[in-house]
Subunit: 190 residues, 2 copies
């Protein structure tokens, strides 16, 4: 879930330098090629993950990569081209926690406009309870609600989705898609 | 809603040529700079729009741009960096239909993996009923259900969201977020 925005100094189509200016008919400054005129748009990225359950417990991974090395997270990552959001959620769960899931439904959408990301979380069921740390994880574990390491969570979006899911389960509610917009943290990230 | 993916031949950071290869620890081929090693990821883009209502009618725009010049659509467009999904939906409605809206809730998510897009639609209410064609529209109009020009709609995602919204309204249902995955059309786009 790192921020991947290499600087744009050159045109990826022709290799010439770019300027940063507002194209005709637009109202936002873009990187525009000084030779071929290609406009290089930059848009938000989607991070997609799973709230995957097995026998009442939820699957978390401890991160082996930055940012937030050593912290716990729901399995999630950048959506790739040519896949659907649900496919991305299942793929990330397989990659980070070696767990196969049956995707249930869209559960949460979290806007993080200051890092140009939208996070989506799906509810899912582990297919056979099997899990293990993938290459980007130090550890994978199924947590009962009482044991969730809230103070060691990697991302606020993950804590938001997980709390909403536990609240819904406790209240025997279902069907709501939970949404929120995050603002930059004023204290060190929690 | 055009597909904006300029080819990647050169590194946007340093201007050197790129190769197309699978980076270490990855499993998808990426464009990698032959000089500075920067990996240029490409990810799906979000298109966000509004189902905006006024006195029981829904706001549509007739497109003044390609693709689908002359066809009708819900106001929608590419989400920009530094905004939320709801802000994007309201901004697009202002830009394409000169209409101010009060956003209500997330209503639909449509995956279109073969063009690397995810479309989101929000329900909204026009604030004062005022609308007019923006620079990318030939016409803006409030349609009663019976008058919706189904055979002249620009995008299948828009038709999906609009039909679901009308179905829900007729059945007096609310709260569901409707999702679907589109596959490439086998006949000319409808």
């Amino acid at each position: 879930m790192s921020i991947v925005h290499p600087p744009i100094h050159f045109c990826s189509s022709c290799g010439a330098p770019v300027t940063h200016a507002i194209p005709e008919g637009d109202n936002i400054a873009r990187h525009i090629c000084t030779r071929c005129g290609t406009i290089h748009y930059q848009n938000p990225k989607m991070v997609v993950g799973c709230i995957a359950e097995w026998e009442g417990k939820v699957l978390l991974c401890r991160r082996a990569i930055e940012p937030r090395h050593g912290r716990w997270t729901l399995p999630a990552g950048f959506m790739e081209n040519a896949e659907t959001t649900a496919e991305a959620a299942a793929r990330e769960t397989l990659e980070e926690a070696c767990a196969q899931v049956r995707i249930e439904r869209l559960f949460a959408l979290v806007n993080i406009p200051y890092i140009h990301q939208v996070h989506l979380f799906y509810t899912a069921a582990l297919i056979d309870g099997v899990h293990a740390p993938g290459i980007e994880s130090l550890e994978s574990r199924l947590f009962a609600e009482a044991d969730i390491p809230w103070r060691e969570m990697a991302f606020r979006s993950v804590s938001f989705a997980l709390r909403a899911w536990l609240d819904d389960r406790r209240a025997e509610r279902s069907g709501t898609v939970h949404t929120t917009d995050l603002v930059p943290p004023t204290t060190p990230p929690d």
